[in-house]
Amino acid sequence: MSDAVSAEKIPVTVLTGYLGAGKTTLLNRILSENHGKRYAVVVNEFGEIGIDNDLVVGADEEVFEMNNGCICCTVRGDLIRILGGLMKRKGRFDAIIVETTGLADPAPVAQTFFVDEDVQKHARLDAVVTVADAKWLSERLKDAPEAKNQIAFADVIVLNKTDLVSPDDLAEVEGRIRAINPYARLHRTERCRVELADVLERNAFDLDRIVDLEPDFLNPGDDHDHDHHGHDHDHDHHHRGHSSHGHGGMKHYHDEDMQSLALKSEAPLDPVKFMPWLQGLVAKEGQKILRSKGILAFKDDDERYVFQGVHMMLEGDHQRPWRDGEQRLSRLVFIGRDLPEQAIRDGFTACIAAS
């Protein structure tokens, strides 16, 4: 998806989060803030109403199996229909927000944007934003697989209600989030007070925006951790470049069934080996792999190759030439459930080109 094309497409932000975490609060903040943008909002019919907006559409969260009935090819049938209907009113809004129920799996929503030709023509998935309740998330991660899915899937996590927990408890819940998904941008908030630029227009699914694949807490980035309301609990030690975990306030947890796996190679990869391996891996283990991303340096190729995927769906392309002096490092990230780590590592190593 080039910038030129994506610029014309309507960005769609998917708002997930467990019941009561604060999705509606965030949604109303987005809609009421004076940003000059007009939003169409797709809400689930069973959710709270109380949304003040011109264009609100109720959805049924109908998850449809496509083609061979593989669960990795599920899409949101109602969303295809609704986006089609909204496109008839193109020009009346600048962006779309899709709110899902607390029990929803984000994957079918994301896959809708990979599978459906008409959706792809007019809209693009911007980011999956997950609102989490700082007080209750740790509990939900134990008893609700949906909550874990939503954290694992997120590009942006709004960790809300931080005023209701102690600094220790906050460190604990962050540790649990990071054990599942160290790559999402995490923002601590009260009453979902987050800069809207941090949750909207993220281009998280744009191949051109795959810049690096460092864990979020290693990125002392410009758009990280806005605490706009005088509630700094001295989090700064998270932002320094610790190469390992467990220092300072960051507690380390290992989540029993959901992990992320990062692979790295300084030696170039053989595309003839790598592509079939990656496609085979997602075909075989796609049910376990929720998200994948990579920046690749192929042998005798002066351009960076980038890819991203959701379960079995992959998209990839050459992104730009490697810059002079830029280290041609290949990096891959998988977030998933019960990932066969050693097999993935071995398979990846076998793709390194003979020098």
């Binding site: 109908e62 009935g69 049938g77 030709e117």
Partner: protein, 339 residues
């Protein structure tokens, strides 16, 4: 593929210069005829009536989007996103036929020859007979398509996992036709022996109603969005491929085990088909803006619109077959007299 699209090796007869342009304020998504007046249905708010001389008359039918439309030649019925079912007649009169109690989107509409009207909002299909009596039926999922059988008041409802035949005036249990996947468009064959759905996947599915036998019609590169019965009701023409696809329904087995006829190949996909009401001619619109008039069964072609990259969104014939109306996604529209 013959590569005809890039450069036609032989000149074919063209009537493209005889298309009279119609000025629309916004692109049309469908076109119908009420007598000799064409009705271009916009994507929101407005329909434009066009007199035979091309004079346009815009008519506001709703404040919102027009989601679906059907016509029986007497009136155009429109389903809107403000929860209303609206009709428009040749005198430009707009009538609200129904309003959804919850103001849900009206996703599908269908008309029976006898004037019975059907529409759907979410999972609910509604039928209103000529006597005004209204009945409803809950589908297992959101309704994807509605079609009346050619005889009797029987409504086919496409939904996830198949289709259901519902007799609104009888107490009989609706008859379920199962097939995995999401079913959108739906049509009866003109002889009433077959029901065909256009699936969300690039395929059609059919059932022989006598025994429920399945017909899988696959091989399309894109989803089928436009279907038309032709050849005396014995052929089903569809969009979705880089040529006109015609499935044979003349024999008792329908297209089971048969290959479709493939005519008028170009290097772009067919986006729209419309069958001439009396002759074996198919107006065929393509994604590159080409319109061809294709004669059955020999496939002789006449060019009705030159390609310009602006995909054909709608085609429609007047009941007399004397006029073809066409509209593009970009907002161009025209009338072609065939006499």
């Amino acid at each position: 593929m013959s590569g005809l699209g890039a450069e036609r090796p032989e000149r074919i007869a063209s009537v493209a210069d005889q298309v009279a342009a119609i000025a629309l304020k916004a692109p049309a998504t469908a076109v119908h005829f009420l007598g000799e007046r064409a009705v271009f249905v916009g994507s929101e708010k407005t329909c434009t009536l066009a007199a035979p001389d091309g004079t346009p008359q815009p008519v506001t039918v709703t404040d919102g989007a027009i989601l679906c439309t059907v016509s029986d030649g007497m009136r155009v019925v429109l389903g809107c996103d403000d929860g209303r079912v609206v009709s428009l007649d040749a005198d430009a009169a707009v009538t609200t036929l129904a309003t959804d109690a919850k103001r849900r989107w009206i996703d599908c509409v269908a008309l029976h020859k006898d004037g019975t009207l059907a529409w759907s909002a979410g999972k609910t299909a509604f039928v209103r007979g000529r006597d005004g009596a209204e009945k409803s039926w809950e589908a297992p999922s959101t309704v994807g398509g509605l079609a009346f059988a050619p005889k009797g008041v029987r409504l086919a409802v496409a939904h996830y996992g198949g289709a259901t035949l519902w007799f609104p005036n009888m107490t009989a249990k609706p008859e379920r036709l199962d097939w995995a996947g999401s079913h959108l468009g739906i049509a009866f064959s003109p002889d009433g022996r077959f029901v065909v759905t256009a699936m969300h996947e690039p395929a059609l599915h059919g059932w022989r109603l006598a025994d429920g036998r399945h017909m899988r019609m696959t091989g399309y590169p894109a989803r089928v969005k436009s279907m038309a019965w032709c050849g005396g009701g014995k052929l089903l023409a569809t969009s979705g491929a880089d040529c006109l696809i015609l499935w044979p329904f003349g024999s008792k087995d329908g297209p089971m085990g048969k290959e479709p006829m493939m005519l008028a190949p170009l290097t772009t996909r067919v986006s729209c088909v419309a069958a001439h009401p009396t002759q074996d001619i198919l107006a065929t619109g393509y994604e590159d803006g080409t319109v061809l008039l294709v004669r059955l069964p020999d496939g002789a072609e006449i060019l009705a619109r030159e390609r310009d990259g602006d995909a054909i969104a709608a085609l429609g014939w007047s009941a007399s077959g004397e006029t073809l109306a066409l509209a593009t996604e970009g907002g161009a529209a025209g009338l072609l007299k065939i006499v």
